[in-house]
């Protein structure tokens, strides 16, 4: 039982990543594809926070916790997750802007209908 719980959060991250990849590969709509990319990225949040977790620990914020009185989770991966969220949000915004332009120029958001290049 403990062997399973010790890897389960990592496996959840793998599963989220793969399900996002499946959605990307089979997507019929570019907006849906951008959403799938966000799902892939969500896997990295789960992975980072799972790597940093410590049993029985609290948040690494000492405004109401006496330093040294309790174990805290790893703050480095939490900062990385924050960076990850910000970059993910900006990439999503940029991709959605591209989708708006694709829809205007080509009149479709189905990636299969965009295969030929048009000027």
């Amino acid at each position: 039982m403990t062997a399973v719980t010790h890897v389960l959060p990592y496996l959840v991250a793998v599963w989220i990543f793969l399900i996002g990849c499946y959605g990307l590969a089979t997507s019929r709509n570019l907006i849906h594809a951008v959403g799938c990319l966000s799902v892939c990225q969500a896997a990295t949040y789960v992975l980072l926070l799972a790597v940093g977790y410590r049993d029985g620990a609290t948040a690494p914020v000492f405004s109401d916790v006496e330093p040294g009185s309790r174990p805290v989770v790893d703050p480095v991966v939490q900062a990385l997750a924050l960076t990850d969220v910000v970059v993910g949000a900006t990439v999503t915004a940029l991709l959605l802007a591209l989708v708006v332009q694709v829809a205007k120029r080509h009149g479709t958001v189905d990636p299969d209908e965009l295969s030929e290049l048009r000027g």
Partner: protein, 251 residues
Amino acid sequence: MNRRIRLWLVAVAGTALAALLVAACLDLPDFGGDRHPYGDRAVDASLARHTANTVASVNFDQRAFDTLGELTVLFAAVVGCVVLLRQTRDEHRARPEPEPVARPVRRYALAVLPVALLTGLYVIAHGQLSPGGGFQGGVVAATALHLLYLGADYRALERVRPLGLYEAGDAVAVSAYLVTGLAGLIGATAFLANTLLPYGTFNTLSSGGTVPLLNAAVGMEVACAVVVLLARFLDQAVEIEDPTGKGSGTP
């Protein structure tokens, strides 16, 4: 490549990738383990510099240079969206008509707006003390402004949102971050080194050296960036009209 072949390829490659990832997971340190050497050192460094929120210390002190890169990514994405979502020559701009708003929605949105705005500013100002900081508070403050779009209408939002000001504010905030870094280079030891200002009393607003300053710069940048981004997307949805009809363009 047709759909069936592509699905087969995804299935084969996905299975192989899944096997590799699961094998990698089995070799990772156990979940919830007690060995976090970098985390422990980050906590020690943060306490030595009187910053109660270790995550803020990591972002704006120990990894301040990386955060500058992150800000540059955000700034570049905003510039990219502004360029991509501009009004093209064959489009024209229609003034949005005021729409009726349900009274409870209007009342609630207008009541929550100042509270949300204040919460955003609070989260930015207390970034070095409690969970939150420039990134989170900036998003809350920018979102608060858009309650005006829900509660009143688009023109009311445009009146409190002179877009040029926010675009300039975005650039000024990135510059403020850079200038704080350069001040570290001139007045102290290195670029973005947190040795310039006194560390202050632990767990007070002025603690943490340059962390509150960098937090404020990031908060301003994120708030301006979110306002500009949402404005561009809302312009596309509300104001800009394609003269030839929905979704068509010149092939």
